[in-house]
């Protein structure tokens, strides 16, 4: 190995500095581990900052009748029972403590009349359950965790991208990364690694996700031998901005509907009556997204191909207080005053339920020493995630991953780095500079987004999915010949050339799994198989690397104990 490499050593290395990564870091540190956090952006800019609506936790501050059982039942039903039951149980049980902890670290939630944390209604939740701060809950959460973590003593490596996980035999040994600023390489030695890199939305054209969401952690884990699960389940948030084109896909929080916003088509009909008359606008996201998409496809959409979302029947001051960033977002970007008239909204790629398969208690993957939490991990949300269950997921399983990784590190010796793996990773990273000619990574990214948007979107068919696989194969061949211009100094083109490889891997995994699942369940809708199929309800699709190829295997959904089955059977 090149002795010139900058090298750092940690007991626990965490990749990603969003809610899950930071919560994991705080916990691992509390266990006495030496903790490092690597993140692609500056600290505090991770995707968690964009979460708006709130954190779901059965605190019972507003609705006394709520409890963990109801939260568990809502989560499982929302996920169409494909969830890992134990994760859903732990999540519902532990979320309230995780929220209280945030408050004790300085977070300031909106209050009830009696001074408790206020909770609001959200899609698929039986009771008012979302602890929130107006419509900027994610910012409050990340700032709280960031300050807590920094003051407890985590080392943060900002604007640093991990390109490969390093192994010693079967065990995790570290990671190879580059500094975005100078383009220099860096080696991290670690006894345990936690992947907390979030999702994959940047592979789609219309998305609420930032440039960071390129499936890095899932691709890294896949290449290191871990299993990916439920990759066919991609959540399209029902309400993204649709006009003007420059802002297409930007998220419009579900809190608009939680606060009483209504959806109408161009004929003024409250169309949710036809799709879910009981829950109406507060149905689950998969249902509302399909409803809006169907209205538009059948010619009842708005001028710019969306639906009208209206909150203007509420007092203007109330709207500005409860939804301040939505108010400003529409006023400044779309010239719409939401206190006076409706917004135009349509589905936007938002979240992936699938990810790295983990053990429910410890968040450990099938690779010894490798853990995963948050959106990068699979299991909690099954076939569809409820709004508000993501922030609580980050806290509950971020903490569990930090705990288990620190304990794992205590019984693990100092790892040895294999120079061959490092050299290979370096060669692959630098190859696009060496080519005399070749395509720009931006063009390939653009084309991949077109493929995923049109062929692996809300409604899917066998024909489209097969075509998508062929197209992804072609894109992979083009990516092998792409060329990067300029130097290694803060070069976004170069950074993208590596992110594309991750996006191709997760796109292929998603398409394979979507093709295999011949039914419609949660966020996965097949026009050629429009119904739930009980046999498929008992199986998770697993993607694993076999040689150089991607293999798909089925695993039975973990059987639920009888007492929990009982809870599920009860009506609310």
């Amino acid at each position: 190995m090149n002795p010139e490499y900058e090298t750092h050593e940690h007991d626990v290395l965490i990749i990603g500095a969003g809610g899950a990564g930071l919560r994991a870091a705080i916990e691992a540190l509390a266990q006495g581990a030496r903790v490092g956090v690597v993140c692609k952006s500056l600290l505090g800019k991770a995707h968690t900052v964009m979460a708006e609506g709130g954190i779901a936790a059965a605190m019972c501050n507003v609705d006394q009748a709520d409890d963990w059982r109801t939260h568990f039942r809502d989560t499982m039903r929302g996920g169409k029972l494909l969830n890992n039951w134990r994760m859903a149980q732990l999540h519902a049980l532990e979320a309230p403590d995780r929220v209280r902890e945030l408050e004790q670290w300085g977070a300031l939630f909106d209050r009830t009349e009696s001074g408790e944390i206020l909770q609001r209604a959200f899609g698929g939740h039986t009771f008012k359950r979302l602890c929130h701060v107006g419509d900027r809950t994610g910012l409050e959460m990340i700032r709280t965790l960031q300050d807590r973590g920094v003051h407890q003593g985590i080392d943060v490596y900002m604007e640093c991208t991990v390109a490969r996980l390093l192994k010693y035999g079967d065990h995790i040994a570290g990671a190879f990364a580059y500094w975005r600023e100078q383009g220099r390489f860096v080696v991290f030695k670690a006894k345990a690694i936690i992947i907390a890199t979030g999702g994959i939305g940047k592979a789609w054209k219309i998305t609420s996700n930032s440039w960071e969401y390129t499936g890095d952690g899932m691709a890294l884990a896949y290449h290191a031998g871990a299993e990916l699960m439920d990759m066919e389940f991609v959540q399209f948030h029902p309400t993204g901005m649709v006009w003007p084109p420059g802002v297409q896909g930007i998220l419009v929080t579900e809190a608009v509907r939680g606060e009483g916003g209504t959806l109408r088509n161009k004929n003024g009909e409250r169309f949710m009556e036809r799709y879910d008359p009981k829950k109406m606008e507060l149905s689950t996201r998969d249902v509302v997204a399909r409803a809006i998409y169907t209205e538009v496809r059948e010619g009842r959409g708005t001028e710019h191909g969306g639906a009208f979302l209206d909150i203007s029947h509420k007092p203007a001051e109330y709207v500005k207080r409860k939804l301040p960033s939505m108010y400003h977002q529409f006023l400044e970007l779309a010239d719409v005053d939401i206190t006076k008239g409706p917004m135009e909204v349509g589905p936007t790629c938002h979240y992936v339920m699938g990810g790295i398969r983990v053990d429910a208690e410890t968040a450990q993957t099938s690779v010894p020493g490798l853990f995963a939490a948050g959106e990068a991990a699979a299991g909690l949300h099954g076939a569809n995630r409820l709004g508000g269950n993501s922030l609580s997921d980050l806290l509950v399983f971020g903490r569990r991953a930090g705990l288990a990784a620190a304990q794992h590190a205590k019984k693990t010796g100092t790892p040895t780095i294999d120079a061959g793996q490092v050299e290979q990773a370096e060669r692959e990273l630098l190859a696009p500079f060496d080519r005399a000619d070749g395509e720009s990574p931006y063009q390939i990214h653009h084309d991949l987004q077109d493929v995923m948007q049109t062929l692996v979107g809300i409604f899917r068919t066998e024909q489209d999915l097969r075509r998508a696989l062929t197209e992804i194969e072609k894109l992979r061949a083009r990516a092998a010949r792409m060329r990067v211009e300029g130097s290694r100094l803060f070069n976004p083109g170069w950074h993208l050339s590596r992110d594309i490889q991750c996006m191709l891997t997760v796109s292929e995994a998603c398409t394979h799994a979507a093709l295999a699942r011949r039914e419609s369940r949660g966020a996965h809708s097949r026009l050629d198989y429009p119904k739930l199929d009980d046999a498929w309800g008992r199986k998770n699709n697993i993607i694993v690397k076999k040689g150089d190829a991607m293999a798909l295997i089925e695993r039975p959904v973990v059987e639920m104990p009888d007492d929990l089955k009982q809870i599920l059977a009860e009506d609310t």
């Binding site: 670290w105 009696s114 994610g138």
Partner: protein, 246 residues
Amino acid sequence: MAEATLQVFRGGPESGKPVDYRVPLVPGMVVLDALHSIQSHQAPDLAVRWNCKAGKCGSCSAEVNGRPRLTCKTRMDSLPLDQPITIFPMKAFPLIKDLVTNVSWNYKVNQKIPPFQPRPGVEWKMDQRDVDRVQEFRKCIECFLCQNVCHVLRDHARREEFGGPRFFVRVAGLEMHPLDGASRARLLRDELGIGLCNITKCCTEVCPEDIHITDNAIIPLKERVVDEFYDPLLMLVRKIRGAKTA
């Protein structure tokens, strides 16, 4: 299709110059979209920071036609398009490349600030009215535009002795937290140099979150420092009691 000309600073700390790019206009386009269009079609190595493109993360700060802005919230159609739009990096921070500056100093300042310390035995109940006051400060997205325009930092580069508006907002959020029990007055006076601020309100003007930085954060904090260290009556009381100042 209508086009605009963007004059974007290209280069590093040693050498650099503005370079003109023609960009096709799209309805509703913001400056960040135009920069992305340049990256995709003309200059793939153009260095720009960004994340959410929705005004929530505070990554894409730059100086647009001389005015510090979030490029994701600056509409192209709000700018005079008959002349080139200049886009320069924030001036108050050391340049890395193109529009990207080294803002690491801010993270070091933050580390000096003692975190939230709940008073012993507090009951975790708060009135919304008390919370409102602090939530204004908690809106900060750390875009550092206020730091960029503060003349103490921009013109006098007194980074060693001054914390800057962002961190007065941060301290105000802690000091006015209804359940916090710590005092950060000495820190404000000695390490964050709040006395150097002469309340010209430049920070308040550029804040994309409309935080009343000067009126609601800095001035009340200055008053706290005065109360703590310079109140003649309190000084007398302390002298009689033989107590040390905070």
